[in-house]
């Protein structure tokens, strides 16, 4: 009941004409960047971070959340029509979606993706509404030791468990933590890793790292892969209205996808690849038309993973808002936006900033409705965006990267740093390192250090406090199982 009243208050905030406009701007921009290959929500929100100096926090987060949700919708359009996933989360959609488009059912594929995204996005937002207060109650019991152990668990899951290699994931994570440590140590005032450069005293800016990895690194990677620009866009054919049979084949996968996606997204592990693949294999197994999978394209294989993708995107916001724990690159950058306002996400946020939190959650419901309209009747518009030639697209991305970076302090040093990180990002892409752990480590690393030092101060320097308190010990044990479990399993099977 309390939750419903709070949500009502949130709608009063989100429905103000100004905030509706921010939501519309965010969802439109989000869909556009989701459609465009090479641009993602993490990069876009990083480029827009300076807006936090201009507008109140509620407006900024409604905008960012709109971009985040919109990118999930837009990514499916690219996967279906171009077979080049616009977002990593929509790789699975491309499997069946593009086959459907090639057999003349692009309209139905787009429709089931958009409506499934709407259903799952709404289920996921309902999940946030009712799960968040529960997590908050639980999290209020956390002390510094528990927070530190929780962050260790998140570090392990985002870098070692979800990627293709624990070694490369952890290497990316430690690199990010190191970047986060550069600058003045806030507790002792000592400079760390500044190499005598005054520019580094304030630390490495997260904009530089995100833009370097996701814009410069990505551009170099695409250029190096001998980009020929011959991607074939499947023409939009077939009615956007689904037949009765298509509805019947879609609604169960939507709900199953949402049921798979939200819990996995809400765990302090995040990631949308696992739930989308899980949903895909579930639908393939349950389908009455298994012969369509991989041949002409099965609608269940689009409906389920798309729903799982959107529900897990919503789930990621739960640990982010309630614990201040980002489990994806986009969430990490949103966390740095909170820091820019001097707000600490976490259980206290729901008490200290109810208008902001509940306004944001309410705006997610509105964003889903806007996105359904933006993505179904207006899909033709987004198909046109897909036709922007690659040379102009990537050259334009680098111009935006310049604005975002050079605007920080008008220093060419930042541009040099941007390009160095871009080269690192290129090598990481080329040699199959995940990039999200870098951003997560950079944002979460200093917070983990802070909690660690707090815990040590309380315990008077006794490290054992991490394993003698039951909750902290449990979290660390889970982290150890997540890290070592797969290795032990492999050895045991041999």
């Amino acid at each position: 009941m309390e939750t419903l009243a709070a949500l009502g208050g949130g709608f009063a905030v989100a429905l103000s004409p100004e905030n509706l406009l921010w939501c519309l701007l965010g969802t439109t921009l989000g869909t556009a960047i989701g459609v465009l290959p090479g641009l993602g929500p993490a990069l876009t929100i990083a480029l827009l971070l300076p807006i936090t100096f201009q507008v109140p926090p509620t407006a900024a987060f409604i905008l960012f959340a709109g971009i985040y949700y919109g990118a999930m919708y837009g990514g499916s359009t690219t996967s279906i029509l171009l077979n080049t996933p616009g977002e990593s989360a929509t790789i699975v959609t491309a499997l069946e979606g593009n086959k459907m488009a090639r057999s003349g059912r692009a309209g139905a594929a787009l429709a089931t993706a958009a409506i499934g995204s709407f259903v799952a996005g709404t289920v996921g937002t309902l999940g946030i509404t009712f799960l968040a207060p529960v997590v908050v109650d639980f999290a209020l019991k956390f002390g510094p030791a528990e927070y530190f152990s929780l962050m260790v668990l998140a570090f392990v899951t985002v870098s070692a468990v979800l990627g293709s290699s624990a070694v490369r994931g952890l290497a990316a994570l430690f690199f990010g933590i190191w970047l986060g440590l550069i600058g003045i140590d806030l507790q002792t005032g000592q400079a760390r890793f500044t190499f005598g450069l005054d520019e580094l005293l304030d630390g490495v800016n997260v904009i530089v790292v995100a833009v370097g990895l996701f814009a410069v690194g990505e551009t170099l990677y695409v250029a190096a892969r001998r980009y020929t620009g011959n991607d074939e866009i499947v023409p939009l054919r077939g009615s956007l209205y689904m037949t009765k049979e298509e509805w019947q084949r879609s609604w169960k996968p939507w709900l199953r996808g949402a049921a798979i996606g939200f819990p996995i997204g809400a765990m302090p592990a995040g990631g949308s690849e696992v739930p989308t693949f899980l949903s895909y294999y579930t639908e393939k197994k349950l389908s009455k038309h298994p012969e369509e999978f991989g041949t002409v394209g099965a609608i269940e294989g689009v409906a389920g993973p798309e729903a799982a993708n959107n529900a897990s995107a919503a789930g990621v916001l739960v640990p982010m808002l309630t614990l201040g724990l980002p489990t994806g690159a986009t969430a990490a950058i949103m966390l740095s936006a909170f820091q820019s306002y001097g707000i600490n996400p976490g259980p206290m946020l729901f008490q200290s900033q109810p208008a902001l939190v509940w306004g944001l959650i309410a705006s997610l419901y509105i964003a889903n409705i806007m996105l359904l309209v933006l993505n179904l009747p207006l899909v033709g518009l987004w198909v046109k965006i897909l036709r922007i030639p690659a040379p102009l697209l990537y050259a334009g991305i680098l111009v935006f990267a310049t604005i975002g970076t050079y605007g920080i302090s008008n220093s060419p040093v930042d541009l040099v740093l941007l390009y160095v990180i871009g080269i690192v990002g290129f090598l990481m892409r080329r040699y199959d390192f995940p990039t999200a752990p870098v951003v997560i480590g950079m944002i979460l690393g200093p917070l983990a250090e802070q909690e660690f030092r707090r815990a040590m101060t309380i315990s008077n320097g006794d490290w054992s406090v991490l394993v003698t308190q039951p909750l902290s010990a449990t979290l660390l044990a889970l982290a150890a199982v997540a890290l070592l479990g797969p290795m032990v399993w492999r050895v045991a099977r041999r």
Binding site: R192, A224, R226, Y227, P391, L398, Y431, T457
Partner: protein, 163 residues
Amino acid sequence: MTKPPSTGPAWPETLIGLGLLGVAALVWWQTGEIRTSPMYAKVGPRIFPYLTAIGLGAMAVAMVVAGLRGGWQPEEEREVPTDWRAVFFVGAGLLANVLLIVPAGFTLASVVMFVLVAHGFGSRQPLRDAAIALVFALSAYFGFAKALGVNIGAGVIEKLLGG
């Protein structure tokens, strides 16, 4: 666990591992340079950096070993030839941008970068690209940057237009 027949060391992966080992050594060495005060002796500003250096070093060693054993890149990725010409032009565009942005201003630097990058990606209409770049950079300057309240270096062109 069956390993594919050994193909000999994969040098790019080994080099990446060695490079990361260098970074770990750098982090270790620089951590020793952080000054600590006896007041904070228990949990000073060095502990996390040391842990980070150890983590980086351990992963680097694992990568060097994996590299010497044949690397981790899948066969099809290894067979994609690198388009050095494209990388060269994109790199040249980035370099031109850094060198020009202070003396010539954002718009001019962006146009030069845009044309070079577009060329790297296979566009063969430099004049058309320059025209698009000019319109794009100016609208980005007066729209995006001004709306965000970001101050980016005004050069000749921006001043002429009253930026």
